[in-house]
C-alpha cells in the first residue's frame, strides 16, 4: 500500500508543481527520555547481541547515549538455561554472549532480562525462534524503470532479486538485510525489509522480493540476509516503516510503538525497542555477472 500512497504523493507534488517541502526547526517540548533496547538472538554463532541506549531530544542530531554497565542475560525458556551477556568494552553499550559460539536453537523461545546500574529490571516477553526457509536463488537485473542510473556517477543501476519457497504449514514472517560489499545500507529498506506469507502461503515466489539501493552497480557484491521473525516483531518493524513513510497530505495519526520489553512489576512502563529471535540464512551474488 505504501507504494500506492507514495506514487500518489509524488503525483500530487508533480501535478501542482508548486508543492514544496522544507526542513524547518520546530520547537518540540522535551519530554522524558527512556531505555532503548535493540536485542537479537540468532541461530548463527557470533550474531546474538543486545544494544542498550537512551532516547534523546527530537532535534538532537548526535548519536544517542549508550547505556553501560548493565547486567544482561538471555533465558532459554524450554530448558531454563541462562546465558549471561558481557559488554564488549566499557561504554560501548553493546552486550554479547559470554559463551563462545552461543546460538539460539530453532524451536526454542527466549526471554531477555536487563538490570540497569540503577537497579531497575526490564524483561522482555517470550520470543519464539522460528525456522527459516532457504533462499532458492539470488540474481540481479538491470533496472528498467525511471531511475535507471545513479544520479551522481551515471553508472547503470541494478536490482537484486531472490526466489524463495514459503513453507505451507505455518504462518511465516521474514525480515531482510541488504549488504553491498559487506556493508549494511543506511536506509530502512536495507535494514527492515519485511514481508509475511499471508498472500503467498506455501507458494514458490519468483522475482517478487527485490532489493534496490544506489550502491547496486555492476561488480558490487550484494548479499541478502533473511531472518525468520515472530508476528510481534513483524508488527513492530512494520510500525517503524509506517512511521517513516508517514508524511505529506495523506498522513495518518502517528502511532505509539510498543515493543515487547517492560519494567518488571509494571507492565505499563515499557522500554523502547524490541527483543527478537531469528533464524538466519544468507545468499550473495556479484551484480551483473550472471
Amino acid at each position: 500500500m505504501n507504494t500506492l500512497k507514495n506514487l500518489l504523493i509524488a503525483f500530487c507534488l508533480l501535478s501542482s508543481l508548486v508543492a514544496c517541502e522544507q526542513v524547518i526547526e520546530l520547537d518540540v517540548p522535551n519530554r522524558e527520555t527512556g531505555l532503548v533496547v535493540d536485542g537479537l538472538v540468532v541461530d548463527d554463532p557470533g550474531r546474538t547481541r543486545v544494544v542498550l541506549t537512551t532516547s534523546s531530544r527530537v532535534n538532537d542530531q548526535a548519536p544517542t547515549p549508550r547505556v553501560s554497565g548493565a547486567q544482561v542475560s538471555i533465558v532459554e525458556q524450554e530448558q531454563n538455561l541462562t546465558e549471561i551477556l558481557r559488554e564488549t568494552q566499557p561504554g560501548s553499550g553493546t552486550y554479547v554472549p559470554t559463551t563462545a559460539n552461543f546460538r539460539g536453537r530453532v524451536g526454542s523461545s527466549f526471554r531477555l532480562v536487563i538490570t540497569l546500574p540503577n537497579g531497575s529490571v526490564y524483561e522482555s516477553e517470550v520470543e519464539p525462534l522460528a525456522p527459516i526457509t532457504p533462499i532458492d536463488s539470488i540474481y540481479s537485473k538491470p533496472r528498467t524503470d525511471a531511475e535507471r542510473t545513479d544520479k551522481d556517477t551515471g553508472a547503470p543501476l541494478y536490482d537484486v532479486f531472490i526466489d524463495i519457497t514459503d513453507p505451507l504449514n505455518e504462518k511465516n514472517f521474514y525480515r531482510f538485510e541488504y549488504l553491498i560489499n559487506g556493508i549494511l545500507g543506511p536506509d530502512l529498506s536495507d535494514r527492515f525489509g519485511i514481508t509475511r506469507d499471508e498472500l503467498y502461503n506455501g507458494q514458490s515466489l519468483k522475482g517478487a522480493i527485490s532489493f534496490r539501493n544506489s550502491q547496486t552497480v555492476k561488480g558490487a557484491r550484494a548479499k541478502v540476509e533473511m531472518y525468520s521473525i515472530s508476528k510481534g516483531a513483524y508488527n513492530y518493524y512494520s510500525l517503524i516503516g509506517r512511521q517513516i513513510f508517514n508524511g505529506g497530505p495523506f498522513a495518518t495519526p502517528p502511532e505509539p510503538l510498543r515493543g515487547n520489553i517492560y519494567l518488571r512489576g509494571n507492565r505499563n512502563k515499557t522500554a523502547f525497542g524490541y527483543f527478537a529471535a531469528s533464524a538466519v540464512t544468507a545468499s550473495s551474488v556479484v551484480v551483473g555477472r550472471e
Binding site: S16, D38, S56, R57, D187, P249
Partner: protein, 790 residues
C-alpha cells in the same frame, strides 16, 4: 416511548393541517418566477404582497403559491441581481401568474434594483444558511482561474478545511463525510478533483448553491453537519445559446438548446483539464508517458407537459484519471442521475416525484510487472422520493414526503492477472435500505413570530447475503478474537436502526431590520467514510452501519441575531452554536483501512462536541459588495474504549484534526468601472493540530520517534490573499457573442502555508531525524481565463 411518539405525531398533524381549514373563502395566486431572457426558473425569488405585508419565496422549481382574501393588491417580485417588478392585481378568483423578471445588467444603470431579497436573512425562519448565487461565486478569485463552488463556500463562516489540496470541507466541527452534497437532489459522494485542488461542480452548469449549517429542515436527512444543495441550470428555453471558457487548467463549453420553445430545453456541459496535453510533448519519456487529467460532463433536459406537469432529467459524470507510464493506472469519480416529475395537484399542492441514482468508485490497474492486478471499489445508491409542498394559507406552509434509498457497497475486489502469484482479494458486498418519512410546517404566528417545526423518521437496515464475523466478548476485538462466522441469507437483517429526527426553528422579527432566530436539529447518519488520513484519499471507502458500526448522531442548537442597516445596504449576523456528536468513528493504532476483511475490529467509536460563534457583515448593494467574517470555534473528540488500547489520549477530550479556533475570512468585489471589477479574498486561520514527538531513539541504525498524546501541538497559522480582475468589454448590441477576461492571482503574497509538519529520518542518514514542513501551494499562482457567452 411508542405512545409518546404517536401523541407527537397526532399533535404535529393537527398543528400542520388545522390552518388549512381557515383557508375557506380565500383565493390562491400561484405560478412560476422565471428569468425573462432564458426561461430558467428562479429559486428563492421573493413574491410579496405589499398591502398584507406577506409573501413567499419560490421553491426550488421556481413555484410559489399564496392564499389570501379577495382584494386588490400590489405585488412585488424581487430577486438578487434582477430588476424588481411591481404590479397591481385584483384577485377575485384563483389565479395563475407566471412572472418573468429581467437580469440586472450593468449597462442599465438607471434602473433601480430593489434588493428586497436582501432582507431575507432577517425575515427567513431559516438560520445558519448561506445562499450563493453563481454570479457571486464567479467573482471570488479562484485557484488558477477555476471557478469553484466548494472553494467559495470555504469563504463563509463555519466552513473550514484541513488545508489547500484537502478533499471536502468541514462544517461546524463536522467531518467531511457529514455533508449532504446534493446535485439536483442526487447525493454526491466525493466533491473533489485532484485530491481536493478543484471541485467537481462546473459553475457553468450550476444555477444555485445553498449551504445549510444548522436548523436543517426535515426534508433533508442522512448526514449530520450540513446540506450543500446545488441545482443545475435547465438551459435556455427561448433561444439557442452557450457559454464557455479557456483557462490555465481546463476548458469548458456549455450548450443550451430550446428543442421546443418554452416547452423543452436541453443543456449539455463539459469540462476537461489539459495539463496532460502539454506533458505529452515533453522530451522526458517518464513525463511524456504519464498522464493525469480530470473531466466533468453535465446534462439536463426538461419538458413541460402543461402548466401543471413538468419533467426533468439530469445527470453528471466525472472522472480523475492518472497513468504512470504503463506501470500503474488509476481513475476515480462520481456519476449521478436524477429523473423528476413536478405535478401541481392544485394551485396549493405542489408535488415532486424523484428517482435518483448515484455512485462513486475507483479502479486501480497495474497491468505489467510480476504481479499485475486490477482493483475496483464502488458505492452505489438508488433512491425514490416523493415531496409535497402544501401552501395552506399565506401564513402557513406544510411540507411532507417519503423516500427510500437502496445502497450497494462493494468495498474491494482485487483480481490478480497472470503471471501474478497473488491471491485475489474480495471483500463481500454489503446491502442496505434507508427508508424515511418527514412532515414539517412553517407558520407565521402574529406579526413577529415564524415557527418551522418538523419531524423526520428514518430507518436503516444492513442486509445479507454475506458472512458476518462474531468476536469474542470481554477482550479487545481483533482478527485473532473471531470465534465464529454467521452466514446471513439474502434480505436477512444484519443490523437495523431507526429513530426520530426532530427539527425546530424560530424567528422573532422585531421589525424589517432585526430579528432573533433559534433552532434545534437532530440528524442521523448511517454511512461512514473510512478514512484516517489528514486529507481524505480517493481510495477511502464508504461503509454501511451494521451490527458492529452504529449510526452517527448529532444534535445541534443554534441562536442568532440578524440585522440590516441603511435600507439593506448592510447585513450583519452573529450566531452561536453547540453540537454534540455520538458514534464518531476513530481508528485503532496501526489500523489497516484498505482491503481489510476485519475492518470493524480496527474501529473505535467516540463522541464529539463542537461549539463556536460566527460573526458576519455583508454589503449587499453599491459598487463595493462582499462580506467579512470572524469565527471562534472548537471541535473536540473523546474516545473511551473498554480497554486501554481502545482509548485515545487516555479517554480525555482532544482536539479533532480540523479544530482551527480562530478564522477570519473576507471577500470584497469592487466595480472600478462598468467594465472592470476588482475582487479580493483573504483567509486567516489557526494552524490545525498535529501530534508532536515525545522523544527520539535509534534502533538498528534507524532513527525512530516516540509519539505520545494525539494532536498535542499545532502547525503554524494559515493566511492567504487572492486577487482577481474581471474585464468585460462593452457588449455590442448587434452581436450575440460577448466575452470577458479574468486575471487572477492566488496566494498574492506567496506565503508558504504549511499543510502539514512531520518528522522523518534524513535520507541516506537514517539515524538522524529532520522536521519537514509541506506546503501544497506555496507560491504566487497567477492565471488568466477567457470566458464567453453567445
Amino acid at each position: 416511548m411508542r405512545n409518546l411518539f404517536i401523541v407527537i405525531i397526532t399533535l404535529l398533524l393537527t398543528l400542520v393541517l388545522l390552518p388549512a381549514a381557515f383557508a375557506q373563502g380565500k383565493v390562491t395566486l400561484s405560478g412560476n418566477v422565471k428569468d425573462a431572457a432564458t426561461g430558467e426558473d428562479l429559486i428563492g425569488a421573493s413574491v410579496y404582497l405589499q398591502e398584507l405585508a406577506t409573501g413567499q419565496s419560490t421553491n426550488v422549481y421556481g413555484f410559489y403559491s399564496i392564499t389570501v382574501p379577495k382584494g386588490t393588491y400590489t405585488l412585488v417580485i424581487s430577486y438578487i441581481g434582477y430588476q424588481a417588478q411591481r404590479m397591481k392585481l385584483t384577485l377575485n378568483a384563483d389565479q395563475k401568474l407566471n412572472i418573468d423578471v429581467k437580469a440586472d445588467q450593468k449597462e442599465l444603470e438607471t434602473v433601480e434594483v430593489i434588493a428586497e431579497a436582501a432582507d431575507q436573512h432577517v425575515k427567513d425562519v431559516q438560520m445558519s444558511t448561506e445562499k450563493l448565487d453563481v454570479q457571486t461565486i464567479k467573482k471570488v478569485p479562484a485557484l488558477l482561474g477555476e471557478v469553484d463552488v466548494v472553494r467559495s463556500i470555504l469563504m463563509l463562516p463555519g466552513v473550514t478545511t484541513v488545508g489547500e489540496g484537502a478533499s471536502g470541507f468541514n462544517v461546524r466541527g463536522g467531518n467531511i463525510d457529514q455533508n449532504l452534497i446534493l446535485l439536483d437532489e442526487a447525493p454526491v459522494f466525493s466533491s473533489s478533483h485532484l485530491f481536493g485542488l478543484f471541485s467537481v461542480f462546473n459553475a457553468d452548469a450550476v444555477k444555485d448553491v445553498k449551504l445549510i449549517k444548522g436548523g436543517i429542515p426535515a426534508e433533508y436527512g442522512g448526514r449530520l453537519s450540513s446540506v450543500l444543495d446545488i441545482r443545475q441550470r435547465e438551459g435556455n428555453s427561448k433561444q439557442f445559446s452557450g457559454r464557455g471558457g479557456l483557462g490555465v487548467v481546463s476548458s469548458r463549453l456549455t450548450l443550451e438548446v430550446p428543442v421546443i420553445k418554452d416547452k423543452m430545453s436541453v443543456l449539455v456541459s463539459g469540462r476537461r483539464s489539459y495539463a496532460d496535453l502539454f506533458t505529452r510533448l515533453s522530451a522526458d519519456p517518464n513525463i511524456r508517458n504519464s498522464v493525469g487529467y480530470f473531466y466533468d460532463l453535465n446534462a439536463k433536459m426538461n419538458y413541460k407537459f402543461s402548466d401543471r406537469s413538468r419533467m426533468y432529467a439530469s445527470g453528471y459524470f466525472g472522472r480523475d484519471v492518472l497513468r504512470f507510464q504503463g506501470d500503474f493506472g488509476l481513475n476515480w469519480g462520481n456519476g449521478t442521475g436524477t429523473l423528476r416529475w413536478n405535478y401541481l395537484f392544485s394551485d396549493r399542492l405542489f408535488a415532486n416525484f424523484t428517482a435518483v441514482y448515484s455512485d462513486y468508485g475507483y479502479n486501480v490497474e497495474i497491468p505489467a510487472g510480476d504481479n499485475p492486478i486490477v482493483w475496483h471499489s464502488r458505492i452505489r445508491l438508488f433512491q425514490q422520493k416523493a415531496d409535497f409542498n402544501f401552501y395552506t394559507s399565506d401564513k402557513h406552509t406544510v411540507n411532507f414526503g417519503v423516500s427510500n434509498t437502496y445502497y450497494t457497497f462493494a468495498p474491494a475486489r482485487v483480481e490478480a492477472k497472470p503471471p501474478s502469484q497473488l491471491r485475489p482479494v474480495v471483500l463481500p458486498d454489503q446491502y442496505a435500505l434507508e427508508p424515511a418519512a418527514y412532515l414539517s410546517a412553517e407558520s407565521k404566528i402574529g406579526d413577529h413570530l415564524t415557527v418551522q417545526y418538523g419531524l423526520r423518521y428514518s430507518f436503516f437496515g444492513n442486509y445479507g447475503p454475506r458472512g458476518v464475523y462474531r468476536y469474542q466478548e470481554g477482550v479487545p476485538t481483533s482478527s485473532s478474537t473471531i470465534i465464529d462466522t454467521v452466514q446471513y441469507g439474502r434480505g436477512q437483517a444484519i443490523g437495523q436502526y431507526h429513530g426520530p429526527e426532530p427539527r425546530l426553528a424560530f424567528n422573532y422579527t422585531f421589525n424589517d431590520r432585526q430579528s432573533i432566530k433559534a433552532s434545534y436539529n437532530r440528524m442521523r447518519q448511517y454511512l461512514h467514510l473510512i478514512s484516517n488520513t489528514t486529507s481524505a484519499l480517493p481510495f477511502d471507502v464508504w461503509a454501511s452501519s451494521n451490527n458492529m458500526i452504529r449510526p452517527q448522531l448529532a444534535d445541534q442548537v443554534a441562536l442568532g441575531y440578524f440585522r440590516n442597516f441603511r435600507d439593506n445596504t448592510y447585513g450583519a449576523s452573529a450566531e452561536v452554536y453547540y453540537k454534540g456528536f455520538q458514534n464518531q468513528l476513530d481508528y485503532k493504532d496501526g489500523a489497516e483501512l484498505l482491503l481489510n476483511r476485519y475492518l470493524e475490529a480496527d474501529l473505535l467509536s467516540g463522541i464529539g462536541r463542537a461549539y463556536g460563534i460566527e460573526f458576519q457583515v455583508k454589503k449587499n448593494k453599491g459598487r463595493l459588495t462582499g462580506w467579512a467574517s470572524y469565527t471562534y470555534s472548537r471541535t473536540e473528540r473523546k474516545v473511551v474504549g473498554n480497554f486501554p488500547q481502545e482509548s485515545i489520549n487516555n479517554g480525555e477530550w482532544y482536539p479533532a484534526n480540523f479544530d482551527q479556533p480562530h478564522r477570519i475570512t473576507a471577500f470584497l468585489a469592487y466595480d472600478l468601472t462598468p467594465k472592470l471589477t476588482l475582487s479580493a479574498n483573504f483567509t486567516y486561520q489557526t494552524g490545525r493540530p498535529i501530534t508532536l514527538p515525545n522523544t527520539r531513539y535509534e534502533f538498528n541504525g534507524i532513527s525512530v520517534i516516540d509519539f505520545s498524546e494525539r494532536n498535542n501541538g499545532r502547525i503554524p497559522d494559515y493566511h492567504r490573499l487572492d486577487l482577481s480582475l474581471e474585464y468585460t468589454p462593452k457588449r455590442r448590441p448587434d452581436r450575440r457573442f460577448y466575452g470577458s477576461w479574468n486575471f487572477s492571482v492566488f496566494n498574492a503574497y506567496g506565503r508558504r502555508n504549511p499543510f502539514s509538519v512531520y518528522f522523518r529520518p534524513v535520507e541516506g542518514q537514517n539515524n538522524k531525524t529532520e522536521t519537514v514542513q509541506l506546503s501544497i501551494l506555496g507560491t504566487v499562482l497567477p492565471s488568466v481565463t477567457y470566458n464567453f457567452n453567445f
